[in-house]
């Protein structure tokens, strides 16, 4: 298409939309609401999933294998050897193996004064990776003896100052811990707890040595993971002392993700009805616009506009109208997400995909509901309208 024509079509559409602000705003209203709902639910779902995933070390891997001592009374936490990793890599279908030898953030209930909140804790046997900015780090004795001493983040320290009247004491899962020092924010957790203290107080070691496995496309994930665990169990040097098992952490996650998805589908279904009604409104507005502008159609046709030019003109106008509504909806949705983020314990995250879906949906509504009026405009009898 000629640039000049495109420019003229766009300008005419914009002029027409702006010259009827009130009517067009009302037309766009349904689109704005519908798209805002879509953006909100997609972002909330996304945020929830990310939050849920942050509790797990799985990331985007296809599965995990754990290593555990066969002797349940053993203090020793076994770990994967280099040979074990190489062994797993030989299993057909395994694309990549990643060792996870760091401590994973573990959710704990932290109570400061009479305020309690869910926080992530790192449970390990050293101050490793934590930079103390005030107070002092936990002594090696304290780690050795499993004393109830912790480091907390600057952020958590703010709460301590506010609610605890200077007492350096927090309750973690209802056990008292003395705050030794404050570490810099930016860790993925707010508390560092000595592992021995945690195991004694709460009876379990939440840290496990794990490997993350990535399965090649075309291989059955479950079977491949099972085969990897079996290979380790039969061939590993430490096979007599330890048990290798496929971690079933995806099951619960999957369930949660599914629920989030179902809620999202339901709300998107409701939003679709809103968008459908909005589409009918767009159609109505386009019929009105066209009947107001029959003279213009006649003039343009007399001076060389083809039926297609006229059709395109009104299709563009309709699509532009709904696209503007879509932008409005995206902004409103972002606003709602911001408010939700301020109150809810997670932040809604708007994906590029959600924006793309919104833009696509709003433009499609304009085209789908604009095509019939636009065709009617194109087919108008020239002699009757001039």
């Amino acid at each position: 298409m000629k640039l000049k024509k495109l420019k003229a079509i766009l300008l005419t559409a914009l002029k027409s939309i702006l010259s009827n602000k009130a009517r067009n705003f009302l037309t766009m209203f349904g689109i704005i609401i519908g798209i805002a709902a879509v953006i909100t639910i997609m972002s909330v779902g996304n945020g929830l999933k990310q939050k849920a995933n942050s509790f797990s070390s799985l990331g985007n891997a296809d599965g995990q294998i754990s290593i555990q001592s066969k002797d349940l009374n053993s203090d020793q936490q076994p770990s994967f050897s280099k040979a074990d990793i190489q062994l797993v890599e030989t299993v057909p279908g395994i694309k990549r193996v990643k060792m996870l030898n760091k401590a994973f953030p573990t959710p704990v209930k932290v109570q400061v004064g009479d305020k309690s909140s869910e926080q992530n804790a790192i449970i390990q046997n050293s101050n490793h990776k934590f930079t103390v900015v005030s107070g002092h780090s936990i002594s090696s004795d304290a780690f050795e003896l499993g004393l109830n001493q912790v480091l907390i983040s600057e952020q958590l320290n703010q709460k301590l100052k506010k609610y605890n009247h200077g007492r350096k004491l927090v309750f973690i899962n209802q056990k008292g811990f003395e705050v030794d020092g404050i570490f810099e924010d930016g860790q993925d957790s707010e508390v560092l707890i000595p592992q021995r203290a945690y195991v004694r107080d709460f009876g379990s070691n939440p840290n496990q040595d794990l490997i993350n496995l990535y399965v090649d496309k075309g291989f059955n994930k479950k079977a491949t993971l099972k085969a990897a665990a079996k290979t380790l169990q039969t061939k590993s040097d430490s096979k007599s002392q330890v048990k290798f098992a496929v971690v079933d952490n995806k099951a619960s996650m999957k369930f949660m993700n599914k629920i989030i998805d179902y809620i999202a589908y339901f709300i998107i279904f409701v939003a679709s009805i809103s968008l459908l009604i909005a589409g009918i409104g767009v159609m109505n507005t386009m019929y009105m616009t066209i009947s107001e502008r029959t003279q213009e159609i006649g003039i343009r046709r007399a001076f060389g506009a083809t039926k297609n030019d006229i059709r395109l003109q009104f299709l563009f106008e309709s699509a532009m109208l709904t696209l503007l509504g879509g932008f409005g909806g995206i902004l409103l949705g972002e606003g709602i997400c911001y408010v939700i983020g301020a109150f809810a314990p997670f932040k809604p995250v708007t994906s590029l995909q959600a924006i793309g879906v919104s833009v696509g949906v709003s433009v499609s509504i304009g085209i789908v509901f604009g095509i019939i009026p636009a065709n009617q405009a194109a087919r108008k009898n020239l002699i009757e309208i001039l």
Binding site: K4, E296, R300, A302, G304, T306, L386
Partner: protein, 227 residues
């Protein structure tokens, strides 16, 4: 035999009034050559508007043959006909038919939107020259509602001329003008025809213009004859 610019041969047109078929044009034959200034006179309802709708390719439903520059377009597609109108026909209407939300410049540019003269470097200059020759260059960015009737008709004339059409079709061009402006517009037509060699077909019911052109036709009850 030379090719006329326009050659109507035995053209008839019917329309339905309820269930009755009414013949509005009766076996019209007509030849118009390049640089003619044809005046077609007739009372309202005589069929003269129907005639120019056919001549201007606004109406394709008729019986008989219409040759334009030696070619028949009766069976052509909408795209071809639209292009033909764009390039070859410049319409001027009684009530100007300007778009009121567009400036003078934008109104005059409408035929350019649908032509392929995008790459034409002299377009802007062309436009300014045309507006200047019609005495409305200073109104370039005004809106039609800010202009007098005479000025509005000049804008319409500029719009009809911008694509250098082979023929100007004017339907009662002075019908909405006072005598002063009527005089000026008619003189303008005369200049366009004599100096710029523009072919003009003008429809009117006003006897005073009978002698403006070099050809005079009269339509009465759908029958056309040259006077």
């Amino acid at each position: 035999m030379k090719d006329n610019l326009i050659k109507l041969d035995d053209v008839s047109k019917y329309y339905l009034a309820g269930k009755q078929k009414v013949q509005i044009l009766k076996h019209v034959s007509l030849e118009i050559d390049k640089e003619d200034f044809a005046v077609i006179m007739g009372h309202s309802g005589s069929g003269k508007s129907t005639l120019i709708n056919i001549l201007g390719f606004l109406d394709q439903k008729y019986e008989g043959t219409y040759g334009f520059a030696g070619k028949s377009y009766q069976k052509q597609s909408d795209n071809v006909i639209s292009k033909l109108r764009n390039r070859n026909i410049g319409f001027i209407f009684q009530n100007f038919k300007l778009m009121h939300n567009l400036t003078v410049k934008e109104n005059v540019e409408i035929p350019l939107i649908y032509s392929n003269r995008d790459s034409d470097q002299n377009l802007e200059e062309d436009l300014n020259q045309l507006l200047d020759s019609l005495g409305i260059l200073d109104k370039k960015d005004s809106y039609p509602s800010e202009l007098s009737g005479g000025q509005q008709q000049r804008v319409a004339i500029a719009r009809a001329l911008i694509n250098h059409p082979s023929i100007i079709i004017a339907d009662e061009p002075t019908g909405a003008l006072d005598s002063q402006n009527t005089q000026e517009v008619m003189e303008l037509f005369e200049t366009l025809n004599k100096t710029n060699k523009v072919t003009i077909i003008m429809v009117t019911h006003d006897d005073t213009f009978a002698n403006f052109g070099n050809r005079l036709f009269k339509v009465n009850d759908g029958v056309l004859h040259e006077a």
